[in-house]
Symmetry: C2
Subunit: 426 residues, 2 copies
């Protein structure tokens, strides 16, 4: 039972640069969840946290209080260990789609509770909903049964996990308080810890198309989250990965499903394969599974078998044709040379403007809208060859999408791409 506090007292303590006591944190998170601390009080506190920071123990306690606001799941009854992955969000980041069935094919259960996209990065659920029949909502018993039978689940996070976070996230979104590392870290980790996974790998994106544009900030966020997971008994590691360039060769819901299936069939863009295998390695190590090579599970078709079973278990038809956009527009290379730059933010914004993403939570997305790029940085192009194909159901969207791409790419004479995985935090 939390001691009685007062919202203004807690706000002033953080505002003046102090640290919040355990009791203050427990009280304010609980009182906010129950509506006793008003939205305008929590937003002032969030701004104070953003500008004053929190130390490690404060973040740990804040995360615990958010977990305590809701239910916790328990996978200890499963016959195999569990591992999960979280990405901070990037353009063309479809890695969850091949990764979950791949890791399951290696003997680890993957309970991937996901969200929908907002802004220029797509949401995993939006992507899978491009598959005819597939449904995102599962009850807890359905989730458990599928984890045991198939080994992989990608579904919507239930409302019961960390309700304080849901409320706080919506508030931060409209009050300019999203970019606070203690709040980002506790938001992500409270849901992952409440979910009850045994191991977790974090893919923290860095670059123009990511939430964190500096390596320093990304490293601090990764460090904070790894510490939070470790303190809570979750075997947690993080990879810092480049998001200056978008992943793979397309961004858009149905387009990314198709590319993921290519990877599961043993092909696909090398960067998507590389990152999928790197993250799979972290998850297997975290789950204590050794002697299994995930690359083999891609090559021998067992990851694809798990994918098909996972899609079918949630009502999807893995053989159904993916939706096709009504209209396409092609942008060609003005000269021959080497693509020296492809900006993730420009591509993400173009896809968003074509209808692949949403501006408000209640907006629909177009399953077939998106951008394909036919060259990646370091690849040669000839004059007049297609550089981009834009897909949408509404041709009026082409103009603003093309404007987003303007200045987002360059053709030069030579280019050596930077590494994809920039650092590993344990």
């Amino acid at each position: 039972m939390a001691e009685r506090h007062d919202a203004v007292e807690v706000i002033r303590a953080k505002r003046d640069g102090g640290r919040l006591s355990d009791s203050q944190i427990d009280w304010v998170v609980d009182a906010y969840t129950r509506g006793l601390v008003a939205e305008e009080q929590m937003s002032a506190l969030a701004m104070a946290i953003l500008l004053r920071g929190m130390d490690r123990l404060e973040i740990v306690r804040w995360t615990s209080a958010m977990i305590a606001s809701g239910e916790r799941m328990d996978f200890s009854g499963l016959s195999r260990p569990t591992a999960d992955k979280h990405s901070t969000g990037g353009v063309g980041d479809k890695i969850t789609l091949p990764l979950a069935p791949l890791v399951a094919a290696c003997g680890v259960a993957v309970p991937q509770l996901s969200g929908r996209g907002l802004g220029h990065t797509g949401g995993t659920l939006d992507k899978l909903e491009a598959i005819p029949g597939w449904r995102a909502e599962l009850s807890n018993p359905e989730l458990m049964a599928q984890l045991e039978d198939v080994g992989a689940v990608i579904c919507a996070a239930g409302a019961g996990l960390a309700p304080a976070d849901k409320k706080l996230y919506a508030l931060r979104d409209v009050t300019g308080t999203v970019e606070a590392i203690p709040l980002i870290a506790s938001s992500i980790m409270s849901k992952k810890i409440a979910e009850g996974t045994g191991a977790l790998v974090l893919d923290v994106k860095v670059g123009s198309g990511a939430f964190m544009t500096s390596l320093e900030d990304a490293r601090e966020l990764a460090r904070t989250m790894v510490d939070l997971g470790t303190d809570a008994g979750v075997r947690t590691t993080a990879l810092l990965t480049d998001m200056g360039t978008p992943l793979g060769r397309c961004a858009g819901n149905g387009l990314e499903v198709a590319e993921s299936v290519e990877v599961l069939a043993g092909g696909g863009p090398p960067d998507v394969v590389e990152l999928t295998l790197a993250l799979a390695g972290e998850m297997l190590a975290g789950a204590g599974v050794t002697g299994v090579d995930p690359a083999e599970k891609l090559a021998d078709g067992s990851a694809m078998d798990t994918w098909r079973a996972m899609i079918a278990a949630q009502g999807g038809d893995p053989d159904a044709a993916l939706p096709k956009a009504r209209e396409t527009e092609v942008l060609t290379a003005p000269r021959a040379g080497v693509l020296t730059r492809l900006d993730a933010m420009a591509v993400g914004l173009a896809g968003w403007r074509l209808g692949a993403g949403r501006a408000r939570r209640e907006d629909p997305v177009q399953p077939a809208a998106g951008v394909e790029w036919h060259a990646r940085p370091g690849e040669r192009v000839s004059a007049g060859q297609p550089l981009f194909t834009l897909h949408t159901d509404e041709p009026a969207r082409f103009e603003r999408a093309l404007a987003a791409l303007d200045g987002g790419w360059e053709i030069g004479d030579s280019h050596t791409p930077a590494p994809l995985v920039l650092d590993r935090i344990i």
Copy 2:
């Protein structure tokens, strides 16, 4: 017509240490007043302003936007110049009561639009309401007529002046964002400039019983307000005055009226007389009135005549007996010596706990409750003589009032009181 902006854009600009453009300020203040910017957005912005500050031009523009949210008054039709006073609030600060009729008796009209108290410092209207029959609410025509006929009005500020400030002040009160110098200064000055006074003196209190406890902060606040007034064409000066010790010999609504009448009768505590004359001098100089000695107007009874006319014009009976508390309790000196310390906050808190002040805006106050102190720092006391008399209608309040005084005073061997007026800002 303000350009269209977005609340999150404005919040982020200030959060990241930037300055807000004129257009951003005009938009956000107007949109907040009209309910288009939500309370939780404004509280995040207020916290960002508190922690990041505002430069002089931002404060000027913010103040202008608050003035533009409501009506402006115009005293240019009066036959004499106008001058007003604002105090940042102190314990035992009844100066407005003798000051307004005194300055009016010197030929300057004083439109003193005042508020009620909250917390440990009393409100001017609460004090005057201890006088049987007196009413605080006047219409604008009544206010104008009384200024012309009597020369002095102390009444409630109408709802039409700076409504943005009223809304913002209530929000700051519950979100830990009161203590932001740009917001304090613009709150006070938007009302005073909208009121339309020609001259203004600010009494900025410093010390334990004041809002500002450091001289440095008080000086910054005074400087900011004087600049705002001057820029708006109001001849503005400020005195920094000590509020480590309470003013006069009593704190409490009816008690302070009685003490004010003593001053108007040519007597009263020397510190109250000193500060009244110092502030009157500033107001007369600001109004361009020379060759009048306010001390003479106290001595010859003309200030008292104006007081009686001012009270009578608002329905009060200047000859009526003031209310007496049902119960009193006396605290005596434990030993002989010199009073070396009398803490304003301790006295203010005691008076508040006796029923002289309110905890919430809707609470009533007791007109007769309060504290008298029978010695001021530097005065000799004998063992067993009364040090404090506590007044209340509810004897159950004595215990907590006495606890507030505990440690708030000291008897020693000798003491030279500090000066009352610490600095003058022009």
